[in-house]
Symmetry: C2
């Protein structure tokens, strides 16, 4: 195959993670080894930056900065939730696609890497197909990223190992705290984690138990399963009776037996007339406090969980980096239209060996991967040993990071912009 | 002075911290150096355990376990919120006091150390006075502890440095995350931290700025100051206009211009007819989302902040340990009725030098120490350089802790009980 000479464009998309910048570093450092890649550009705020011709000159950054990305949370290039939606807005999507290829051509972009979750893989897929249709020679590879761990075909998603390492640590610490305050009155703490439809994050906190039945978390509620408020209450009561306290973890999107989101508060409507999302943990807290004489508190980790690079998983960070490297290698080798996936193998002596593979983007887009039902106890309140076997290796090792004046010192790109060549987007 | 020979009793009280066990380790290890202290007992669940004669045999614990306490969060002996209340329940309080001295005498307790906050120092004070009145020779020393940092006369309270190190790190990480998602729509994140009447914890997150005006957190709201919702809204708008995003930290007890808690939701009553405490962050979120076209999310750190030993301050942990040691030394030297306090000094070359001192317990009990008004900007929305000068040294250094299978490995006491000598409490 003839070598494809040109410039590289990499962008980040969707909700950030602790290790999405590690994938970015993987792309950049690998690209530096290949002469056929001339300039390395970053799209500012994902595909939105590409549409606006807001490109960052990565070759102008210091090598130290790129290395620093390996321990820096959030999206160093900026991110967006912009979707090129051919179904709902076909005309706008067609105009967007025209504009993207104008930008690609103006800057001789021949390698495009998009680091993101489900929607971003869909965008990459469409760009790949469009390039083929237009006869514009370009290699498009998707790099996986999502704390939600809901992409199919990959062993796991970069970002997931770190979020559960942090969440499990937090649940362990909160558990010891609540346990040490447990007197005869009993107390309960409900920790809400992210995961609107897939319960991977909530499930991951089972690692805090280290296999001890009495250790917190005592109950883990997943969005994949249906729970009646009465069954939750019975479980809390049973746990408090046994241990004098109860630590519960809930995924934000958990549903009741009618399939309705527990976090939705129908008694209060927002300005659009939609039920206010009061939070699943808050709703269960009010219910438990109303029915049991048990002091109940909540923790809502929110964005803190996906940005907690101060206790990120080294395995996760290394896999994220490897995905970035593998994307560039695949593109150089002539591949396009694939997402890099993480593959779990075994060494001859039985240790886990991580590698990467490729999966056609068409297999990824709009397919969600859920926690298998048989990885959860029959009553639905706790992931079982199958889940633990899967998740434990993902949290091994800690990412080192520099500290200045007692706080992490994270890296910021200088972010010098590439000179624009086109008129502003219409 | 004649040497006082007998047994030692130490107990922990109130909400735990990341370093309250470090103070416990200080008491135990120092006590081990003095022959006049025969047995070392721990009260299970604070003064409640003493009343119930639930004593833990500390000399039966392994030395490794005691050393492990220096990096283990929560109260290893268990804690309680039990108050001996001579004002509201004088008869019950008198009975409790009788019972305490029965237990002290039955187990020849001659040294009593209570690690806790305001209420606990009050309890220690009463026990000291009662011992004097009864002519029972015993040395009583209070050891300070509270993330709230609201005890008077001490430079700072053990637990405070660690909680603000963790909270500032979280705010920094959330800030990078939200900043990287900031596009033209703007986004806002409100992080709620503990502090019902004193704003020390919220104020401490200003360290995440590292003196950069544009860096998050952009706004910090303290319970000591009054804020109108309109002034908050104007500040959010100004910040989002300038930076496209806004990170706000609020103490849980912040109040509006009428002095009413913002977190109280009067439109919803609980089963007792009291307003539901919806959370200050949630209330401000609803208000901001209703008035500005700004995506707003909240983080509620709750118990996670005071248990986050995985990123505790070494300075704080060392000071906590030193307070435990100093309590024992003071008691051996014949002192009673004091709380150990932390003293900040300077070495000849201008570095900070920490030491301890003693303050009469009567000066401590029921006095709350607030953030000085002149440590906060005139508009009340950000602590100033005076605050930073005070707080920065408290977060220096990191506590090392063992890790097993990717998660912290914290220490648990075996907790063997001392044989009871009395009939059960009436």
């Amino acid at each position: 195959m003839a070598e494809l000479v040109g410039n590289l464009l990499v962008a980040q998309s969707g909700g950030p993670t602790s290790v999405i910048n590690s994938s970015l570093a993987g792309v950049i450092q690998e690209a530096g080894h290949h002469d056929c890649i001339e300039e390395i550009y970053g799209g500012a705020n994902g595909i939105l930056g590409v549409l606006n011709e807001d490109l960052i000159d990565i070759n102008d950054e210091r090598a130290r900065t790129i290395e620093g990305l390996r321990c820096t949370p959030a999206a160093a290039l900026g991110t967006c939730r912009y979707k090129i939606d051919f179904k709902k807005k076909p005309e706008k999507a067609a105009r967007d696609m025209d504009r993207l290829f104008e930008v690609f051509q103006a800057h001789n972009i021949r390698y495009f890497f998009y680091i993101g979750g489900n929607d971003s893989q869909d965008t990459s897929h469409k760009i790949h197909e469009e390039a083929v249709k237009r006869g514009y020679e370009m290699r498009v590879i998707g790099v996986p990223k999502t704390i939600d761990n809901d992409l199919p075909h990959t062993d796991s998603c970069p970002g997931y190992g770190s979020v559960i390492k942090y969440c499990a640590t937090t649940v362990m610490e909160v558990g010891i705290d609540v346990g040490s305050m447990a007197t005869d009155d009993g107390s309960c703490c409900i920790i809400e984690v992210m995961g609107r439809s897939a319960g991977w994050i909530a499930a991951g906190t089972v690692l805090a138990k280290r296999g001890q039945p009495a250790a917190p978390p005592h109950l883990i509620l997943l969005p994949e399963i249906r729970y009646s408020m009465d069954s939750i209450l019975a479980k809390v009561k049973e746990t408090v009776d046994a241990y004098k306290y109860c630590v519960m973890v809930v995924g934000e999107g958990i549903r009741d037996e009618r399939g309705e989101e527990i976090g939705a508060d129908k008694t209060r409507l927002d300005s659009f007339g939609h039920p206010v999302l009061a939070g699943a943990a808050e709703k269960i807290k009010e219910f438990v406090q109303g029915k049991l004489n048990t002091k109940t508190r909540t923790v809502l980790l929110g964005y803190a969980q996906r940005a907690a690079a101060h206790f990120a998983s080294l395995t996760d960070s290394n896999n994220a980096f490897a995905c970035g490297e593998a994307a560039v290698r695949a593109a150089i080798a002539g591949q396009s239209g694939y997402m890099v996936k993480i593959v779990r193998g075994l060494t001859p002596d039985g240790a886990i060996q991580w590698s990467t593979g490729l999966q056609p983007l068409g297999d990824i887009a709009n397919v969600e991967h859920f926690v298998p039902r048989d990885w959860v106890s029959e009553d639905g309140f706790l992931p079982n040993e199958k889940f633990v076997q899967y998740a434990q290796p993902l949290i091994e090792g800690e990412v080192k990071f520099p500290i200045e004046s007692g706080l992490p010192k994270y890296t910021v790109l200088e972010g010098n912009k590439v000179e624009k060549k086109l008129p502003p987007r219409a």
